[in-house]
Symmetry: C2
Subunit: 272 residues, 2 copies
């Protein structure tokens, strides 16, 4: 097996046995890269910049990571670990999926640059694997694995699609250095031209309606999520809607502490 024939980054051993002690580590490099990407975007996390962040020479990073792309894979998996799915098949599937959805969304909002990396086939890093186990475990007792995959794809698509929009509008405001109202004022000439043309009645309707108070982003997300969960409910056997204690007892012994589902560990702040 030649040097570059590892199937993915997780198969490549971090450290050989011989030679001098490495001064850094993959985890340390990944952490620094995430820190930079959070603060200045993924494109700012260049090899030179990351190396400077940890006090290393630029080329030293390549002793730990074969390429920048692979480093980004490490960063992505590192992020998956932030989603709290402990004790996840709790027996209340709606609560579980809601907690997962909130956690995933919050993670994306903390690390918006994740939207710009397109995973080339899930690389199945350790954190992602754990997430899969916990998340798919939620509906595993109710539906076939294929059905489960389909439903989770739907759920994930909703979450990612929604949060992508949040991210891109936030990014646009930051890029222009304008507040939301300033930005709207700036684009007024264009919007006004479109409205005045009379050719876009529905666009006009959206623009007009947007002036009246909308739901907060959090509430919008929750509202749509409820719809998705209702949609999932229709795909489950009727027994799934009732309490799951019977199923749980059948699968594993559990005490009656009454802790059906833990509160989401962190709630995204209702902005402004």
């Amino acid at each position: 097996m030649t040097d570059a024939e590892y199937v993915n980054i997780w198969m490549r051993p971090e450290r050989p046995a011989r030679g001098p002690k490495p001064a850094y580590s993959r985890a340390q490099i990944t952490e620094a890269a995430v820190r930079i990407a959070d603060a200045e975007g993924l494109e700012a996390a260049t090899m030179r910049r990351i190396a400077a962040e940890i006090g290393a020479g630029a080329m030293s990073l390549y002793r730990y990571v074969p390429s920048r792309d692979n480093l980004v894979e490490l960063m992505a998996d590192r992020l998956m670990g932030e989603i709290d799915v402990t004790g996840m098949p709790s027996g209340d599937w709606r609560a579980d999926l809601t907690r997962y959805a909130d956690g995933l969304r919050a993670m994306w909002l903390r690390h918006p640059w994740i939207a710009t990396v397109q995973r080339s086939l899930p690389s199945f890093g350790p954190n992602q694997l754990l997430l899969i186990e916990r998340l798919m475990g939620v509906l595993d007792v109710f539906v076939s694995i294929d059905e489960n995959l389909s439903l989770m794809a739907m759920l994930n698509s909703y979450i990612e699609g929604t949060v992508r929009e949040e991210i891109s509008s936030a990014k646009e405001f930051r890029r222009s250095g304008l507040s939301e109202s300033e930005w709207m004022a700036r684009s007024y000439p264009y919007v006004d031209r479109l409205v005045k043309s009379g050719e876009y009645p529905i666009f006009t309707k959206i623009v007009m309606e947007a002036r009246q108070p909308h739901l907060s982003r959090d509430d919008q997300f929750r509202y749509g999520l409820q719809r998705i969960l209702d949609c999932i409910a229709t795909a489950l056997p009727s027994t799934a809607e009732s309490l799951m204690s019977a199923h749980r007892e059948g699968r594993e012994e559990q005490d009656g502490s009454g802790q059906t589902h833990s509160q989401p560990s962190e709630r995204s702040s209702r902005a402004k």
Copy 2:
């Protein structure tokens, strides 16, 4: 208003009045860029490469487009024009949304690089505006504009999320130059190690189940789409399920020509 103060690319006039006749055009440049991106990916569509494609000098492009980012915006809107939504509020909302979904998915599959551009706030190019009018017009008679936005966000999220997965797996196979079975053979050591560890029962289930014949990608998409449409149906008033002719007659007088709005001044060609 200084030179760079245009709110977006659509406000910046393509041609001033004075001076010599330009040898090229935005449309021509955009077309060339799309052609390159289709064949070799968006990152291959560099300014130099695009210029060479149309026989121009590299810097000449900047007479037509302020920056590469803006050119990508033009490319994205050009793609929106490929989605056929003519006569779109037809009265059968399920058929309309299905046609839109198929069209959007097919467009993404023809131009997979679109997944790598994150729109910074919808830039509302002409083709996108038309698409909004037609698509949101489908449910406009049934629900409020806010509800409509929410439902369409859900639909679009599903489509984009699903097709993103198709794209990234296709890309991985192309990147590695392996067929799907070769790729699976290559990653066998890693997958086998995970399965053998016994720590990932659901991942194991997925891997095992994947050996038996699955639905085609088309059927998977259609299947999930039906679920989404069912979900949308529950948000509509009960009258919506029946034929819509009554509603259409009630809202606007219409002759039989089917030409509701003026034709867009330029239709992008359906490639190949």
